[in-house]
Amino acid sequence: MTRILGFSALTVFILLPLTQAVILSFTVTMPKPGAVPGEVALANYLAVFADPNLRSAILNSITYVLVNVVLCLAVGLPAAYALARYSFVGDRHFLLLILVFRVTPPVVLSLPIFILFSQLGLVNSPLGIALVHCLFNLPVTIWILESFIRSVPREYDETVFLDGWSFPAFFFRFLIPQIAPGLGVAAFFCFIFSWVEVVFARILTVTAGKPITMAINAMFGFQTDIGMVMAMTCVSLVPGIAMIWIFRNHLARGFILRT
């Protein structure tokens, strides 16, 4: 009985704000073609996908998130291998460096990053956001991949090298298939952390390249169509919730910190 009560209390607390958003997103709040205010309909969602600005915002978000995931995996995998398999001068200092970048709040670095990236011509482009999100995603990737590589016995590497395979061949033909689940988990957390971040995403998109989060802010105005805002919000929640389901047994890995 207490178990049911406890679970219900938790469910209500977590889902209440989302319930409101879902209800509003299906309620027509402003006149639209073929729908009158107050009606329950899909009109808000149709309007979201019909609006070229919102469509391009969704596309922008997906672009920089995917570029970020690819960058983090490509750069993080060799680093994770080095940390998992060798000890070397300064390895702990490197771990400390990535720990510091992992926890530094974006607002602290937003000013110099904006100035630096505007000199490099990386403002208003998805590439700029993808690069800057590596600041916190690369450490996460390195730690996750390192823990997966550690769980492969060292003898595995040695056998492959004894068989005469070169180092790059070992990486692509043997290591990557062995730790494929790890790559998936790392990609999941990079995706999520990049998807929800707003401080860098706002400061680096001044006139163009707006992501979903900023497009929603821009929908508030003199007459806000709140139903449509909520429809856009619900759309932005879909990838995250789908991924929670897929990676439900690995949720703790994204918040591990190594020292």
Partner: protein, 283 residues
């Protein structure tokens, strides 16, 4: 012990190059700007430690620092026990636990600027689901400081409780069942089991929670700005909100000095975490 080989650095080169561009360079730049007065990028004057002295000597800074510390302290005292409680509760749920974990993780995947929006929609007096309750209780987050604080703490707890639950659950579920059985045979109370068996085995997870939650709540920006932008009457003017104002007001030199100070605070927290964690490690 893994073999010692300094050639491993070659594998770190791509990672280091990337971090140098997006992390180290901006960090050096912000420290450098902190010692200058910046009208435009072409018109920069050296002012030494003037900004730092100004900020550290101002009552406004000390007040904001106090508010941020109080907020972080309240966040930790609410969320860590609550998260542990939920995690222990989920451990008892057996196979249903994964549903609880997924539920708690949902707020973690909501874009940050939508979180205040969702909550403000929820308590809207005309259209919110909690609107009638808000009207009946006289809750007014715009004008009454204590109500703004309550709302902010509730929103932050909603957002981050999943982090505490997920990490605490991972730590608790790694404890072999035999430990709890042995304790039960000895007639240990629930509190004894928690104090002597569970707590020592989740200190690492708790350390991580403590660091992540401290830094993020101490530097809370997105939610606090969206909910009341520091008001009413500066009652929720936290450190990061002052920094945001200076950046928006183009006083780059002062903002950089402030960012440097904040970075030093974060660095101190990280250093304390690392020292504590390395003491815990088996030698």
């Amino acid at each position: 012990m893994p073999p010692h080989d300094n050639r491993a650095w070659l594998l770190l080169i791509p990672a280091l190059a990337l971090l140098a561009l997006v992390g180290v360079l901006p960090l050096l730049a912000v420290v450098n700007y902190g010692f200058h007065d910046i009208f435009s990028l072409a018109d920069i004057h050296w002012v030494g430690v003037e900004w730092f002295a100004d900020i550290l000597g101002s009552d406004r800074f000390l007040a904001s620092l106090g508010r941020s510390l109080l907020f972080a302290a309240l966040v930790l005292t609410i969320q860590i026990p609550l998260g542990l409680l939920i995690a222990r509760f989920l451990i008892g749920c057996g196979r249903g636990a994964v549903w609880g974990l997924m539920l708690c993780a949902i707020p973690l995947v909501v874009p940050w600027n939508m979180i205040p929006m969702l909550w403000l929609g929820l308590i809207d007096k005309q259209t919110g689901l909690l609107g009638p309750a808000v009207l009946a209780s006289g809750f007014d987050y715009k004008e009454t400081a204590i109500h703004t604080w309550i709302l902010l703490l509730t929103v932050d707890t909603w957002h981050w409780i999943g982090l505490v639950v997920v990490l605490a659950y991972a730590g608790l579920s790694a404890i072999p069942h035999a430990y709890r059985q042995a304790a039960a045979i000895d007639g240990a109370s629930r509190w004894d089991v928690f104090r002597h068996i569970e707590l020592p085995r989740i200190t690492r997870a708790l350390g991580i929670v403590l660091l992540l939650r401290f830094v993020d709540s101490f530097m809370i920006y997105t939610e606090a700005f969206a909910i009341n932008a520091g008001g009413p009457h500066d009652a929720t003017r936290f450190l990061s909100i002052e920094l945001g104002e200076e950046i928006k007001g183009f006083s780059y030199g002062q903002a950089a000095a402030r960012a440097t100070l904040y970075f030093l605070i974060v660095l101190t927290a990280v250093w304390a975490f690392v020292v504590a964690m390395r003491q815990k490690e088996p030698a």
